[in-house]
């Protein structure tokens, strides 16, 4: 059986005044049903763009330049737009980062759901759409009598529950969550993470969790893909990667994460700053910041090599 999702040699490019920027540069990975993949990296590493490209919603001036994205064996990149629209929401959906700008301030919460149900199933009766929404509210832990409220009447945490509800309403196989708790306070964040875990289990969801929060990756995922400058530098089982990070960037990223239990072992800075993708460094894109850089690093780009259950793109493992 093919994996649920397979991404091969994906390239996504933004055309800017300063030149062509490859936000996603030759990325490949696959994902089995019911697994959770954490996509981590710093701002502008391409993790959100990668998420957007799976739904084919890369905002202009970005566009998918090449590669293959297969969901259950169906090639998404070359699908006619009409069919892609049907797949969005019902097969693969997205939980966006900022619930305030993702909800329509003029629509009642209820109407967001009704519109979604009616778009995908034009014959559905309004009563049935409302009944489904009520059932969904119960699963989301939102009181039924809030169904007629407007988004501004909801707190940040409740809005994010609505976003999760909208993403799950049509029971998709794959859900991509882009920093789903970044705008929330810690206690509300914990509540939302617990809700995600519960729903993931109940519905056997496959989840791609895009985040910069290493703590959330440790808590939520089975697999981790570490991105740097548009590329996956290391991918493998979460336990293995935390136990023994192979790529120097992975190691640096894990050590820079704040750890409230062990402050003395955390928050070690990575020297330097992420590269400007309009004029990226030669060879390995991490080499100017890498503590273990040696001869080949500025000269040749490393290719991902298997190391046990992992793939690592680093000359240390050639």
């Amino acid at each position: 059986m093919p994996p649920l999702l397979s991404v091969q040699e994906l390239v996504v490019q933004y055309s800017t005044l300063r030149g062509e920027v490859k936000a996603v540069n030759d990325v490949s990975f696959s994902l089995e049903t019911a697994a959770t993949l954490g996509l981590v990296g710093e701002s502008a590493c391409g993790k959100s763009t990668l998420g957007f490209s799976i739904l084919r919603i890369v905002p202009p001036p970005g566009r998918i330049l090449g590669g293959k994205i297969e969901l259950q064996g169906v090639d998404l990149i070359n699908l006619p737009l009409e069919e892609m629209r049907r797949i969005r929401g019902s097969q693969v959906s997205m939980i966006f980062q900022d619930p305030m700008t993702s909800l329509n301030p003029l629509l009642r919460i209820r109407d967001h759901f009704i519109e979604l149900f009616q778009t995908h199933e034009p014959s559905i009766k309004k009563e049935e759409a409302v009944a489904r929404t009520v059932r969904l509210f119960d699963a989301l832990g939102i009181a039924e009598d809030r169904i007629g409220d407007y988004p501004h009447q909801f707190s940040g945490g409740m809005r994010q529950r609505v976003m999760i509800g909208l993403a799950l309403a049509l029971e998709p196989r794959l859900v991509i969550a882009d920093e789903p708790t970044t705008s929330l306070d810690v206690i509300v964040e914990a509540q939302v993470l617990e809700l995600l875990k519960l729903l993931r289990e109940k519905r056997r969801l496959t989840l791609i969790l895009i985040t910069h929060n290493i703590g959330i990756v440790a808590e939520m995922t089975d697999l981790v893909a570490v991105m740097y400058a548009g590329q996956i530098v290391e991918i493998g089982p979460t336990g293995d990667i935390f136990e023994d990070p192979l790529h120097p960037y992975t190691k640096g990223l894990l050590e820079s994460a704040p750890n409230v239990l062990h402050p003395e072992q955390s928050m070690r800075p990575i020297p330097g700053i992420p590269p400007d993708l309009a004029s990226p460094p030669t060879g390995c894109k991490f080499h100017p910041r890498c503590p273990r850089a040696f001869k080949p690093c500025p000269l040749r780009e490393p290719t991902p090599m298997a190391q046990g259950r992992r793939l690592v793109a680093c000359h240390l493992y050639d």
């Binding site: 810690v186 935390f242 409230v260």
Partner: protein
């Protein structure tokens, strides 16, 4: 006690903006009780963390500490002098000695001002030395905050820098007058993790060089644990717990602090989570709950908690908690 800053009964209420129709219909004026009768002291050379969620009143407290806004009641003493009673002249002196580092370096810097003049501005205003001396001092500050070579950065605009570099400019601007006291409001919240520690380490080395005292405002307990030596936990305008960093983190006593700590994701897949998540979300500061403000969400609340307000009580180690049933 060698306190640099002493805060007594500090209170700030903001009137709620209503539409004119509502104002006519209801006589009652409503207030957001952002900060409600809090007291604490910041020791000279210390790093005092004000930690809380959105709406806890931590940012309002920070602004009050620098007299960027006026309190509704209560007082703040700096070197023993009430900053609310400063003459215009002493206030000007105070502005030189107490500075602020803002959260969003993009918003804090004028997009049309080159960063050299932006850092030098404080020296100009306070007319420190001659103009060439000020420029020299500014160039030295560039090197100190890690923007090197200084000459290459001096004439740049903020948009030509990365987020981390911009925050270094904001820090340099706060430090150019060699203040004694700096309020830093979420200085690393908008910076990537790998850069975050660089910025905090820079702030620590500047503290050593200049003998600074910091008030550090954050929602991030892990950052507070890394950076502060004393920590106050705020909830809905009140301080619920305050003490030495290690005590507060190793043996939190207020149920809210315990809940907060147990909510933070830990970057270790083998860590067994034992979450004690309180019910619901932080209520409105317009009509805060009676008694202990945390009681409607508290897992240990009893009848007394809704009737009387617990006061901060101190143990032998200087760890204070405002709770009728604190964890021992």
């Amino acid at each position: 006690m060698s306190s640099l800053v002493e805060v007594n009964g500090l209170t700030k209420y903001f009137p709620v903006q209503k539409s004119s129709l509502e104002a006519v219909l209801s006589r009652k004026r409503e207030f957001v009780r952002a900060v409600d009768a809090i007291s604490f002291a910041i020791e000279r050379g210390g790093i005092f963390g004000l930690v809380g969620e959105s709406g806890s009143g931590k940012t309002t407290t920070g602004r009050l500490l620098l007299r960027l806004i006026e309190p509704t009641s209560g007082e703040i003493r700096f070197h023993g002098d009430n900053i609310g009673e400063f003459s215009p002249q002493s206030l000007r002196q105070f502005r030189r000695r107490a500075q602020m580092i803002f959260q969003d370096p993009t918003a804090a810097l004028s997009p049309r001002m080159r960063i050299g003049p932006a850092i030098k501005h404080g020296l100009d205003i306070h007319q420190v030395g001659s103009d060439p001396e000020r420029k020299k001092e500014t160039l030295r500050m560039f090197e100190r905050v890690g923007l090197s070579p200084a000459e290459a950065f001096y004439d740049k605009y903020p948009h030509q820098l990365s987020g981390g570099q911009r925050q270094r400019v904001v820090i340099g601007r706060a430090m150019i007058l060699e203040p004694e006291f700096v309020v830093a409001d979420e200085p690393v919240a908008m910076v990537d993790v790998s850069i975050r520690a660089q910025i905090l380490d820079l702030m620590l080395s500047l503290k050593k060089e200049l003998g600074l005292t910091y008030a550090f405002i954050t929602h991030d307990l892990a950052t507070a644990n890394y950076f502060c030596d004393r920590i106050a936990i705020m909830y809905l305008g009140k301080i619920v717990e305050v003490g030495p960093r290690e005590d507060v983190f190793k043996s939190p006593r207020h149920p809210y602090t315990v809940a907060l700590m147990s909510s933070i994701p830990v970057p270790d897949p083998k860590h067994k989570l034992q979450r004690l998540i309180p019910r619901g979300e932080i209520p409105s500061p317009i009509n805060p709950p009676s008694g202990c403000r945390f009681h409607p969400r508290c897992l240990h609340a009893q009848a007394v908690c809704s009737q009387r307000e617990p006061q901060l009580e101190e143990d032998a180690l200087g760890h204070q908690v405002a709770c009728f049933f604190p964890r021992v």
